[in-house]
């Protein structure tokens, strides 16, 4: 009997510890534990100059400009609330287009321009044939970007 009670006490203590652990993790996730920052995060946080990080969002419609050297590209990354201008020199992934998800890696310069030295395309979870996409857009049921 006594041993049984002791065992029960241990199980309870263990459960309490696990519960505390879960509570800690949950409250930690309210703050940011992210792979990349959104433009809103950048606006809210003081990110020091010269620090390398990643910024992710959608390429703003109509913002993509190719400079004369044919290699440098400038565009704006937006999360539809805030926006960050990005300049990048190098090859772009095939899926890079206006209105698509993108993650740029680099540093924020003094002028507020994000100078990227790597760009990854981030696509969303929608898959469909081109005709369907067209039809959706025509019928105005298009929910994704663009």
């Amino acid at each position: 009997m006594k041993r049984k009670h002791r065992r029960l006490a241990f199980v309870v203590v263990g459960m309490v510890l696990l519960g505390a652990a879960a509570a800690l993790v949950l409250s930690a996730f309210e703050e940011n534990l992210v792979f990349f920052y959104s433009p809103s995060d950048l606006a809210a946080k003081e990110i020091p100059e010269g620090r390398r990080f990643r910024v992710g969002g959608l390429v703003e419609e109509g913002s993509v400009k190719r400079l004369a050297d044919g290699l440098t590209v400038e565009f704006v990354v937006t999360d539809l609330v805030e926006a960050v201008p990005v300049s990048y020199r190098g090859p772009l992934p095939d899926l890079f287009r206006e209105g698509q998800g993108v993650i740029a890696e680099g540093v924020l310069t003094a002028g507020g321009v994000f100078r990227a030295d790597g760009v990854l395309a981030k696509h969303d979870e929608n898959y469909m044939p081109p005709e369907v996409a067209e039809a959706l857009k025509k019928s105005g049921k298009w929910k994704g970007a663009q």
């Binding site: 263990g14 940011n32 990110i47 020091p48």
Partner: protein, 221 residues
């Protein structure tokens, strides 16, 4: 519970008697870190950039190396099977051994880490976070590592196998440990990372001794 402290005391005394042992872990830690300037080149900004990662990886490897001995000596000389017969529940025996292990390794690694960060040119803003993260993270390494040590104790070739088993489980500690330091260096909040490390510790405290004890029972069979 006096049996618990009996084991802690014995393990601490053995560690002290053996003298160099925890010193050796420390020295491995220091040497592994000093290999990097040789390997990567002495450019201080690159070193500073990779410092938190290198320090944590070295701590992981040092902890892992010392783990092989956590139960092995007791297994080899037959003490372990007697410990499984003792009136103290094996889970607490494991906990006691982990505590002694942490006091003689993890604690020292944590204490030494700011110094090594200095050597690696790390930004001084990160020192406090590094120390805090190490203090929270190294006990997790001892506890999680105990599972791997218990699983491999009856195998002659445990030493390398243990790394295969526990290093993957160490990776979350590494990620959040480095995250805390990096955040502090860049002037962001280290707290969420430290909280996750704390949560890991709380979860490891009941779970790991339980799993390790099960593994030990199997090993002495």
């Amino acid at each position: 519970m006096s049996a618990f402290w009996c084991i802690v005391r014995r393990d601490l005394r053995l560690a002290l008697r053996r003298g160099g042992d925890s010193v050796n872990v420390m020295v491995f830690f220091v040497i592994a870190i000093t290999l990097f300037p040789f390997g990567v080149g002495p450019e201080s900004n690159i070193l500073a950039r990779i410092a938190p990662g290198v320090i944590w990886v070295a701590a992981l490897l040092a902890a892992m190396l010392s783990l092989d001995r956590l139960f092995r000596d007791d297994y080899d000389d037959g003490s372990l099977e007697l410990l499984t017969l003792a009136p103290l529940a094996l889970e607490f025996t494991v906990l006691a051994k982990c505590l002694a292990h942490w006091l003689t390794t993890g604690l020292l690694l944590a204490a030494a880490s700011p110094l090594l960060a200095l050597m690696m040119n790390m930004d001084a803003d990160g020192f406090a976070a590094l120390l805090a993260a190490m203090l929270l993270g190294t006990p997790v390494l001892s506890l999680v590592g105990a599972i791997g040590a218990a699983l491999t104790v009856s195998l002659r070739r445990g030493g390398v196998l243990i790394s295969l088993l526990v290093l993957p489980l160490f990776i979350p500690v590494l990620i959040f440990g480095v995250g805390a330091v990096a955040a502090a260096v860049y002037g962001l909040a280290a707290r969420p990372h430290l909280m996750v490390l704390g949560a890991m510790l709380l979860a490891a405290l009941p779970l790991c001794p339980w799993a390790a004890a099960a593994a030990l029972r199997l090993s002495v069979e």
